[in-house]
Symmetry: C2
Subunit: 216 residues, 2 copies
DNA sequence: CGCGTTCGTTATAAGTTGTAACTACCGCCG
DNA sequence: CGGCGGTAGTTACAACTTATAACGAACGCG
């Protein structure tokens, strides 16, 4: 690997400032969401005048895209780390919720409302497939004893391009997809605050969903 | 009911202009999302200068809030209409997906990324409970023959304030919640475009989830 | 040590939301 | 039917925003 820290002093300073900008951007996003992110405000917080930041990011969208990529990488890293530590599907579910609650706006940056015209850069799709690979590993590793066949299985057997060369059976593909959609459904509503005031504990609902997925 | 159309001509004109403003707002949102909604642009499209719109909406947030309320009402209406026509849980699931695909940005206006500080007005919470009431009716009406008890049930039995005075058993409460979270999970990812390029048909995944919920 | 790249600055353009002040018209009430 | 009040729409302006252009200064490499 190339170590970017041992480049020329100029580049070292450059990445350092870029990182500082992103840090301020994260705190701003955590406070008021990505739509309220202000390039000028970040510059002022850093003690320099507005247009200076455009030396480091071409425009606001590029800054946000960089944050999205970092968020993807963060999720993929936690998943991969847990998987290498021998995590099963339930552990991955637990890790996912922990990662989401750690910074809800970071979760929404990845899985929240998209801008209609926006096209995800190539990097993120590669990271997504990395995440799916970890998920497929976990799903294929522990086969449920009583896995009822689903009419969805033949369809997934024919359209498994998204799984790449992963040798998971259709039932594992289906389980990975339902893992994704169901847990995202619970998390998304919880983080958006749609459960607040309803009285029950979202953690119990999440636990019930993971139990349904892992078979206790 | 009070018929707002037969008020004074001034008020009639007022509501008419308000409706036209909201119409333009919807097309703008459908094109570029709610964050890109521009009050000035709407005014220009309607042939009047910027600040004129502030006679009809106090500010941008009030306009968006009104759109959110309309979106909630629209969803509640389709649910109620279908329920009155004798729809079962599977029909409601189908109606939900139809309503979502009809205008994805409208769906995101209700269930998308929230602004951290935003507090939903009283109206929307009332409409939400109306939606949940329809859902609970459907869940309580058709009991699944083989409903395995869940460790979530006792918790929901204790915290059922959100269900109001609805006489649904805990298993129905749990089924209504999972209906909501699971279908939202699939729809949210589908509408956000996270399935595009993966190859499989989201409709099949959605159908599989509804079948799992309704027991075929 | 000099020279070029890069950084940060100010000035400026073209937007945005929102307020203030003024005008003109519409319609209600006597 | 006429006057008067309230409402609608206008322009002007303030305070923002993103983003570009042009300039000066400093840094570091050869």
């Amino acid at each position: 690997m190339i170590d970017p820290d041992t480049r020329t002093p100029r580049e070292r300073y450059r990445t350092q400032v870029r990182e500082e900008i992103k840090q301020h951007a994260w705190t701003q996003i955590a406070a008021a969401g990505a739509s309220a992110l202000s390039v000028n405000a970040i510059a002022k917080q850093m003690g320099m005048s507005g247009p200076a930041l455009y030396r480091y990011f071409a425009n606001r969208d590029e800054l946000i895209t960089e944050l999205v990529k970092d968020a993807y990488r963060s999720l993929a890293d936690t998943f991969r780390t847990r998987a290498e530590a021998g995590a099963d599907l339930g552990d991955l579910a637990h890790a996912l919720r922990g990662w989401a609650l750690e910074d809800p706006q970071r979760y929404f940056l990845v899985y929240g409302t998209p801008v209609p015209g926006y096209q995800a850069p190539e990097d993120t799709t590669r990271i997504t497939s990395e995440i799916m690979a970890v998920l497929l590993d976990a799903c294929a590793a522990e086969q449920l004893p009583d896995t009822p066949p689903s009419p969805l299985d033949p369809h997934l057997a024919e359209h498994r391009a998204w799984a790449g060369p992963h040798p998971a059976p259709p039932s594992a593909l289906r389980r990975a997809l339902t893992f994704w959609t169901r847990l995202h459904g619970e998390l998304s509503l919880e983080l958006a605050g749609h459960f607040t005031g309803m009285g029950f504990d979202p953690a119990h609902l999440y636990a019930a969903e993971t139990e349904a997925l892992t078979g206790r």
